[in-house]
Symmetry: C2
Subunit: 197 residues, 2 copies
């Protein structure tokens, strides 16, 4: 299905398709945004969208892919086990300060509340891709629940700060937030008594 002048690796074309898909998914919702309309906005043939991205579900998954690698966050946080909580909070907010990450994550949150594919993607990020590995390394039997306490705390903060613009949360500096929230995350991840009766 490749055409002359459009090698399969054509990065500009792929990027144009993803940009069109993201904007149409956001404007119309997943169900109403058609592959044909996405192709039209990207200035390409619908067949090319299928060629590069497969089904509409595949295209949604690609559109929701993060512009960073959650594992990087994990590795940074693991360097000093006594300060995992604060490091994690600081790195997390630092990521969200980037407009590209922020837009992508807010789009993912919006989509996750309405579409199962996006919900599964977000579940994967919160558990398997980012916090699961930290919690597993700390080796508590209830590691997955600990990771979810941390993930939902951070995600709730990010939605309040970047999505809703809650004040003063939105204008508080990252170091202050990380210092306040760090001990909580540390306790959730590393306190053996967390679920003690």
């Amino acid at each position: 299905m490749t055409r002359p002048g459009r090698p399969p690796g054509d990065r500009d074309t792929r990027a144009a398709i993803l940009t069109a898909a993201r904007s149409l998914f956001a404007e119309l919702g997943y169900d109403k945004a058609s592959i044909r309309a996405i192709a039209r906005r990207a200035g390409v043939d619908a067949a090319l969208v299928h060629h590069y991205y497969g089904t509409k579900d595949d295209l949604l998954a690609a559109a929701l892919r993060l512009p960073f690698e959650p594992a990087g966050l994990v590795l940074a946080a693991m360097e000093n086990p006594d300060r995992i909580g604060e490091t994690l909070a600081r790195e997390f907010f630092a990521l969200w300060e980037s407009p590209a990450v922020r837009e992508q994550m807010l789009a993912l949150a919006r989509a996750a509340l309405t579409h199962p594919v996006a919900a599964e993607k977000l579940r994967g990020i919160v558990t398997r891709e980012s916090l699961g590995p930290i919690a597993a390394r700390l080796a508590f039997p209830d590691a997955p629940l600990r990771a979810e306490l941390v993930g939902t705390h951070l995600f709730g903060l990010a939605l309040g700060r970047y999505g809703l613009g809650l004040e003063p949360l939105a204008s508080t500096d990252i170091a202050t937030l990380a210092a306040a929230v760090g001990p909580t995350l540390q306790r959730y991840l590393a306190d053996p008594e967390l679920f003690a009766p």
Copy 2:
């Protein structure tokens, strides 16, 4: 604009309009759901929708109104100042266990990420209507930020548990969650050293 047989206080008609508005806002999004379509689904005249609910923004605000009074949560939590955190978490989750509250809150969260009127409504719930009064009663100069830490933590947990169905978070009993999260909320609300350098 009132008609024979439709007194202004007609609760069934008002309820039918709200139900129609909620479902169409959810299906089509705020911008695409017209007053005319809402009236048609409710089986009433569009003029009656305007008569009862005013503008479309007013109707959205009414559709997003909570099926509970956040102040009740606050009063329950204030009874025992040493256990505000745990009481608050327990009462909060108990509310969300009701399907009516859950649907309404998830609809509000979805709408808040896409529409300014809903975002302002959610900001109001998190700060002025529920957690602001608790934080203010505790009389720290940074009470609003403390309230936002608590509000976003609880809201993030609820989105993970009820919106995304994260496991094991979704199937963990409320008492266990409240015991784990309570000390965090207590510290955010009542620890004088929270923002100490």
